[in-house]
Amino acid sequence: MTQTEMMQKEWPLFEVFIRSKQGLDHKHAGSLHATDAKMAIRMARDVYTRRQEGISIWVVPSSAITASDPADKAEMFDPMADKIYRHPTFYELPDEVGHM
């Protein structure tokens, strides 16, 4: 069996996102194999919400995700290291302003 044939036999991978409670965001919980999205939801329920971890599940085919390249880390993220003025804590608020 060639490698492509083996890959075709394996079920596609889905990324699973779980919302733990109302008002919170869906968070990446992990991934699993399923033949389609409907099955992936069912399996995500069994694999990732067995201990009441969630009230809502999203699944996304892993192949639909475009990721940044770790090799680009330096040019992608390092320039932000010295831009401390982008953090709200950089600014001193006059007392009159109170809480923002």
């Binding site: 194999h33 399923a34 099955m39 069994d46 067995r50």
Partner: protein, 270 residues
């Protein structure tokens, strides 16, 4: 000690017997499904089946604890589960059949088509049953029914999904699913056959007759079969006798495995 079987005909006897049956059904199918643990066709299904098995064992614990109370506290849930012999078990015959199929020799040759077809047929029955028992005059049973209904609905969704995929899948999956359905279908007759315990429990408002569940069961099962391209098996007059304590030869083997630890180490706990 009062034997619940002998007390069966009288009022409170029927109540106990009725609850015992429900508990044994959940326990025995739970044990059969638990045999898949670590042997599932893929990791995710392995976990799904273990979840379903644990749902059923949880139901069995509640029901057997309730039965023990109705019996008067002579025994507890553990002695009911682990210290009765095959003839004292009240589960439907279909639920004790090996996961490898009706004529299979044991648990070591499991067939996913049989496992799923059985879960499909039985969870549809359980959905109809728990819906009705949620209104039982036995408040404890009504509470167990309300909890179990949610679980049964998921079991049905899970199994029905696979039935459609098998039926509408490859030539082999279709053939094996049809074979499993054909083999199991006659064993469902027992669920709907007339029975004096059910009649008595129904008179008291505690339980319902199986016959009154058949329409709801068929209404759940038939559309899935139609969508799966699998043929609805022909009806027959065969009626198995598990709920009366007359079982297939397979139950003894199941009990031997399930009860060996407790019998060797009475009272053993985790």
């Amino acid at each position: 000690m009062t034997n619940p079987v002998q007390a069966g005909a009288a009022g409170s006897g029927a109540h106990l017997e009725y609850v015992l049956r429900l508990g044994d059904n959940a326990l025995i199918l739970g044990q059969r499904l638990a045999e898949w643990c670590g042997h599932g066709p893929i990791l995710e299904e392995d976990i799904a089946l273990a979840n379903i098995a644990l749902d059923l064992i949880g139901q069995a614990r509640l029901l057997l604890a309730h039965a023990a109370k109705l019996e008067g506290g002579i025994r507890d849930e553990d002695s009911l589960a682990y210290l009765r012999d095959a003839r004292e078990f009240r589960n439907f015959t279909m639920l004790e059949l090996p996961s490898g199929g009706v004529s299979s020799a044991g648990a070591m040759n499991p067939d996913y088509a049989i496992t799923i077809a059985r879960n499909f047929l039985f969870s549809a029955y359980q959905c109809a049953l728990w819906t009705r028992l949620a209104d039982s005059t036995d408040a404890q049973l009504a509470a167990i029914a309300a909890k179990s209904l949610k679980e049964a609905r998921y079991h049905f969704t899970h199994a029905a999904d696979w039935i459609v995929r098998f039926g509408d899948g490859t030539e082999e999956s279709h053939r094996r699913a049809q074979q499993a359905l054909d083999a199991l279908w006659p064993y469902a007759n027992e669920w709907f056959a007339e029975d004096r315990i059910e009649a008595a429990a129904s008179m008291q408002g505690i339980g319902v007759t199986g016959a009154s569940l058949r329409d709801a069961w068929l209404a759940a099962v038939a559309p899935v079969l139609a969508g799966s391209t699998l043929a609805r098996p022909r009806d027959s007059s065969f009626v198995s006798t598990g709920r009366a304590g007359l079982h297939s030869e397979h139950l003894e083997y199941l009990l031997a495995e399930m009860q060996s630890l407790h019998r060797a180490h009475p009272g053993a706990v985790w």
